[in-house]
Amino acid sequence: MFWKRFKKNKLAVIGGILVFGLFAVAIFAPLLAPYDPDIINMEQVLQSPGAAHILGTDDLGRDVLSRMIYGTRISLSIGFIAIAIATIIGVILGSISGYYGRLIDSLIMRLVDIMLSVPTFFLLLTVLAIVGPSIWIVMFVIGLTGWMSIARLVRAEFLTLKEREFVQAARSIGASDARIIFRHILPNALTPVYVSFILGVAGAILMESGLSFLGFGVQPPTPSWGNILTAGREYMEVAWWLILFPGIAIFITCLSYYILGEGIRQALDPKLKI
């Protein structure tokens, strides 16, 4: 049913294939990369794209294609882990908030309001400036500042689902609150979470690229799309390939996540006729 509807949306299928392809690239990076991404070759500095180096080389003679292939790993794992953290926090707080209501709900929702009023990007910059740049800090801060919209979504689902009769039926056979929340209601509330997860990954990748570009994210020599872009910025006038290709990679990745997320949303929405 879901697949039938999803397959009708050609754009979403393309997005899905692209996302799937990115995963394949990340997993099989050592097999796909023509060179070692960290090998410095001073005889091959700033080579334009050609037969030996398809996407050229950078200022230290490293192969751009290989660095980008390895960079896929970093970008994807930051996106995924950060949003996984956000989703777990959001789902738990949203469930509790929606199920119990009243004071607990008010407290959690006001916390959401407070968190939403903090500009994430500047919070990240501040934290990274204090504790020093690290991939893990980036993931955690993105995760800890990204759970609010998911909490709101889950809460809204819970508000309607908790009034449904099957919840009362579960209570009438003696199920505990925790059991009702996580076993009975939550599986019914996950649809919007899937979509928000996928869209969130794109946002996190974009944020990581932005941070790396500013020098606060992934530190060289570890390759990430953001820092390849940064390194290339200085040579922009003589070596356009250094910024063009990572830029295109970020653009395509985010775009494919967005169209995939939108496609899933449409396929899961029973009100929408496809």
Binding site: E165, F166, Q168, I173, A175, H184
Partner: protein, 324 residues
């Protein structure tokens, strides 16, 4: 009264809404012996379901049971138990079958998983034993090919089948009391009969007491031992089924029985009960049935009749039978 399973005394339940306090149940008392059936009859909104939910203590947040009443189950006061203790009673001692089989099953789990959960919550069977138990239960409630059906999702079953599944779920932990809240309202007539027959058969098999809530007197006539007729939150008449049908005492019961169409005289006009149930936020003084009563007298307007024993085992709350 040692074999008394459930004893409800002076139960008041109110909803606190923005429009004021809605007294849904206003001081009802009844008792039920082990293995017997009680029919709770009345029109929509007369407090039948609220009574059931009060016994289970599954009332929504805005509803409160007024202190002073008592619900004794096997001699234990249910109103004083903690949430944890109540949880152990629900399902294992008292369970409930709901009105809407379409929505009372969780759409994302197979029926096998849902019944198994009911078993596992109260027993200590391993997964395989529990699955066997599920198959046995499904066979008991008359579902064909139970070992295939346990892998079905609720949407793959018809309404009657789902109600059977819900009954299996309710019976999973061998409760002593089953509350069936209009179990057949959402089903069509032939299926209704099957489900009622099933409930009757299971009662004989498992020796459970049943409270059958319904607005259909026909359902009550065949299946229950005692009937309590409710009107606007109170019991207006209580008797054995036979007595109630042979000799209804309260004008409301008479009117209800009179409004059942008879097959014999096809040309007769259908008797109806004019008017509607009084609004529960602004109850009139005196008898609540006054407005619609055919046998009213002047003093009905002032006196609120109590439930009195008119004949042995036959109680009614009406000025006609008040002494003095």
């Amino acid at each position: 009264m040692n074999n008394c399973l459930l004893e409800v005394k002076n139960l008041h339940t109110s909803f606190f809404t923005d429009a004021g306090e809605v007294k849904a149940v206003r001081g009802i008392s009844f008792s039920l012996e082990q293995g017997k059936t009680l029919g709770l009859v009345g029109e929509s909104g007369c407090g039948k379901t609220v009574t059931a939910l009060s016994i289970m203590q599954l009332l929504p947040n805005q509803a409160k049971i007024t202190p002073g009443g008592s619900i004794l189950y096997k001699g234990k006061e249910l109103l004083r138990l903690s949430q944890e203790e109540l949880r152990k009673i629900r399902g294992r001692e008292i369970s409930m079958v709901f009105q809407e089989p379409m929505t009372a099953l969780n759409p994302v789990f197979t029926i096998g998983e849902q019944i198994r959960e009911a078993i596992e919550l109260h027993g200590n069977l391993n997964k395989k034993e529990a699955t066997n138990e599920v198959i046995k239960l499904l066979k008991d409630v008359g579902i064909p090919e139970p070992n295939k059906r346990i892998k079905d999702y609720p949407h793959q079953l018809s309404g009657g089948m789902r109600q059977r599944v819900l009954i299996a779920m309710a019976l999973a932990s061998f409760p002593s009391l089953l509350i069936a809240d209009e179990p057949t309202t959402a089903l069509d007539v032939t299926v209704q009969a099957q489900i009622l027959e099933l409930i009757g058969a299971l009662q004989g098999l498992k020796k459970i007491a049943i409270i059958l809530i319904t607005h259909d007197l026909g359902v009550v006539a065949e299946r229950v031992d005692f009937v309590a007729v409710m009107y606007a939150g109170v019991i207006v008449e209580y008797a054995s089924t036979q007595n109630l049908f042979n000799e209804p005492l309260h004008p409301y019961t008479k009117a209800l029985l009179g409004s059942i169409p008879k097959l014999e005289d096809k040309d007769a006009k259908l008797n109806t009960l004019k008017g509607s149930v009084p609004v529960l936020t602004e109850l009139p003084a005196g008898c609540i049935f006054y407005e619609r009563c055919k046998e009213k007298s002047a003093r009905c307007k002032d006196i609120t009749p109590e439930l009195v024993e008119v004949k042995e085992g036959h109680w009614a709350a009406c000025c006609l039978y008040e002494k003095g």
